[in-house]
Homo-oligomer: 145 residues x 2
DNA sequence: TAAATTTGTTATGCAAGCATAATAAATTAA
DNA sequence: TTAATTTATTATGCTTGCATAACAAATTTA
């Protein structure tokens, strides 16, 4: 099995390149790829830290330092949830809303660029296969018989 | 454009999950996903740092600290290249060769697992589309008219 | 040839993943 | 109800990306 035929290798290389591209574009207005995704996922009525982790596909524990930084730079603020006092909701400041617009534009532009150059069928198959691989990966290693 | 329909989002999530899976499995024998890929790409007759960066899809500058750590833990050693005295070649120690076998097994097993659950056509289309996206990403943003 | 540029590497600071440990709140079990 | 467990979060140390800066060797230009 050669490396250039393995699925994992391509996923790694392609995501690294997309991530770098996003970072370079987003650096133009002072944020990173990760912060852009974070902003995009914060709802107007606040989003819990745990929900954010789920949406971003990262462990909740990864977010605390990042949220501290974002709070410090005035993008967000945090408030304890009404119902569940363990839960913390994250809200966008007006400055965060501004940056979120820019971040969304980056994502939309890049995807439009891809969409113009890939057929609908190609994209649908890609996303469907990626979804399948994701499910399979989460189930790995398979239960032994 | 909803996030769950964008290509970038799936690439991010799927690679994160594959990477975590590799890290968890590889932790069982004391290495990381990144070190596993590194070991797999070092040839018996040595591989230059710049070549490694290309194979791994990272900037060469990302490797120096990692190679220091790998050298310290006895996986590799470095030697200045014969021809070009700027170039440094990386070699596996016997310990590194041992770990490389294990790392390769992880990659082979996971890909076999996927191959058994995806059709040949699915995989071929996936890799071909990923290659295409990679090329497009490297060419982004497109030259203005 | 000498000077300017490019290339290969290293060190280092920052960003953002992970894991672990701590803590408080909520839920479940006894 | 009290005790045990689970859940949501935070802080923190480690890893490994990036970028930048420095430097030597190689190559190109004048």
């Amino acid at each position: 099995m050669k490396q250039k035929e393995t699925v994992d290798y391509f996923l790694k290389i392609v995501w690294q390149n997309v991530s770098n591209t996003y970072n370079q574009v987003a650096a133009g207005f002072g944020i990173t790829q990760a912060i852009g995704y974070m902003l995009i996922n914060i709802e107007a009525d606040g989003t819990a830290v745990s929900a954010l982790a789920g949406l971003l596909g990262v462990k909740a524990t990864s977010l605390s330092r990042m949220l501290n930084n974002m709070e410090e730079s005035g993008l967000i603020y945090r408030e304890t949830s009404e119902g569940d006092k363990r839960s913390v909701k994250v809200y966008l400041t007006p400055f965060g809303i501004e940056k979120r617009k820019l971040a969304r534009d980056v994502v939309v532009s890049f995807n439009e660029y891809l969409n113009e150059r890939l057929s609908l069928k190609e994209r649908e198959q890609l996303i469907s296969t990626l979804e399948k691989i994701n499910q399979l990966t989460l189930a790995y290693p398979p239960a032994k018989k």
